[in-house]
Amino acid sequence: WEPVVGLEIHAQISSNSKLFSGSQVQFAAPPNSLVSFFDASLPGTLPVLNRRCVEAAVMTGLALNCSINKKSLFDRKHYFYADLPAGYQITQQRVPIAVNGSLSYSLCVDNKMSQMVTKTVRIKQIQLEQDSGKSLHDDTRSQTLVDLNRAGVGLMEVVMEPDMCCGEEAAAAVRELQLILQTLGSSQAVMAEGQLRVDANVSVHHPGEPYGVRTEVKNINSIRFLAKAVDYEIQRQIEELESGGTILNETRAFDAKLGCTVPMRDKEGKQDYRFMPEPNLPPLILYDAKSLPANMNHQQVVNIDLIHERLPDLPSVKRAKLVERYGILPEHSFTLLNEDGLTEFFENVVKQTQMKPKKVIGWILNDLLSYLKQHSLTVKESPVSSFLLADLLNLLEKKEISSTAAKHVLAELWKGERKTPLEIVKEKKLELIQDQKELEQICQAVIDGQENEVMAIKAGNLKVLNKLIGLVQRETRGRSNPVVVKQLLEKKLSQ
């Protein structure tokens, strides 16, 4: 069975005001307080296009390698729903603002992050459209409460071709798109706040045969759930077809609690949206350096070339730069970019320590990140600052403490008691023993007490040496440098 997954993603544009009106865009405001007469679709109101939304869409189109249509058109998509007061949504169905792009994303081949594969998904188009309001269903009183604060907010709909084949690919593609949007600033793309909404189109077929009937899966609220929903739906369709059933071309909702998809109540049969050109809006014309007319008001011009010049480094470029500059592995760069603020933290530590970045990254990803995850903290909330960690790593670099001792110190630092690493080292007496004679005495004592092991080593079994080193470490309570101990033991044993 070959599953086929396509995605329709709606990203809320990060702007002060809405797409066609001057009311504010804000999450969680008193109901119906951010609504203008146009948003409420009162008669006599007209749409006026927000320049910032156009620029956001062009930026996104350029970042996704799309061709930007210098002339794009607006249309009306009609359907009845309480949260769509006009009875239609203004969108771009015939000629959208950007078409034919691509998005590259990476997947781990196995779950260990040791090998990454790059895949590409084609972007069919990006279009500007209006968001609808919010409906709160009150089933007990058999009514729906409607809040129009979100009605009219600008959305970029990114339509991806069905180039993906499983939940993991879909999740990775969306994650990469999310990072790109956040880097560009065109959308904050926080799924939990509804700024990024994903609908998945899923079908299965046998290789070589035509595509199967597809279903649309909605109500997916996080990237994790996206992977689950897609995989569940693929499985459901396979089971249904294998038991002789058929797949209906329907819309299903993902139930996060049950982990399954269920048919949606309101979508009966195929909708006829009666698309028609939006009569109140002329075509949207974009310019580039060549086509820029001489005497036009700058405020009225959107210059594609200018936007292109001002594009920031995309995530893939940032990762490549990190790998090149610090000599870390590509998988590491992924983890750094994936965690909000982690790259900055890492770079700050590197600046303040003599330890090589390749070693620092281990402390960042293994120790710092796992601690943060265990306690559900973000990098910004870390009780250990980059300054403290750099301080600790310096002590380690200067060989004043062993790495085991460093881990102890870090555990102390997590408590956030505002002690410096040096203070903790002194307090807990974790310094490495620098006195050569003391070390020699301890080594000699261990050798004297382990006759069998000594004989085994002299007979050629060198692995037993590690046991002796371990005993010395225990004796010194972790305050000996294993490399030095090994040298001393070897010297003594060869005498």
Binding site: V35, N280, L281, P282
Partner: protein, 160 residues
């Protein structure tokens, strides 16, 4: 506002006030302008051939669903038939090689607004339009109540 000011300026002697062009008066002077005639007052020259297909019940039902209209009776359906015939006259025009025009605004500039917050904060005014409200929310029926299927509806189409 601008038009009023212009008028005032003109009357103040800025320029001679333009005289509105003479209009043909169809009714007696003093009477209100002619109302919309109750029946078409002219028809196209040659009688058109009858349309190939009559509008089917399925199509009518589909239209009733989509646009939430009710064709009521035979006259309503006949009016629809005539409207389709009327619109079909457009097919007589040869449009080969001509770009479709979808808006008379097509050569106008689309005005781009700055991204400033200039509207909103009129919850009370908006809610004045609502028949029912709950704590500043509009109240609507639960979801879309689907129009019953043709068999279950009591409309003219049922009996046609």
């Amino acid at each position: 506002m601008r038009a009023l000011r212009l008028g005032r300026w003109l009357r103040a002697g800025g320029l001679p006030v333009p005289v509105p062009p003479a209009r043909a008066v169809l009714t007696a002077p003093g009477a209100s302008p002619a109302p919309v005639p109750p029946r078409p007052t002219w028809q196209r020259g040659e009688p058109r051939p009858p349309p190939q297909q009559k509008v089917t019940v399925e199509v009518l039902d589909h239209l009733e669903h989509l646009a939430l209209v009710d064709f009521r009776d035979a006259e309503g359906v006949e009016r629809l038939q005539k409207a389709i015939q009327f619109a079909d006259q457009l097919r007589d025009v040869n449009t080969d090689g001509v770009e479709p025009m979808d808006s008379v605004l097509e050569d106008r500039c689309l005005y781009l607004r700055d991204d400033d917050v200039t509207e909103g904060n009129c919850t009370n005014e908006l809610l004045k339009n609502a028949r029912e409200k709950v704590e500043e929310y509009f109240v609507a029926p639960p979801g879309n109540i689907p129009l019953p299927k043709l068999e279950e509806r009591e409309t003219f189409l049922q009996s046609s």
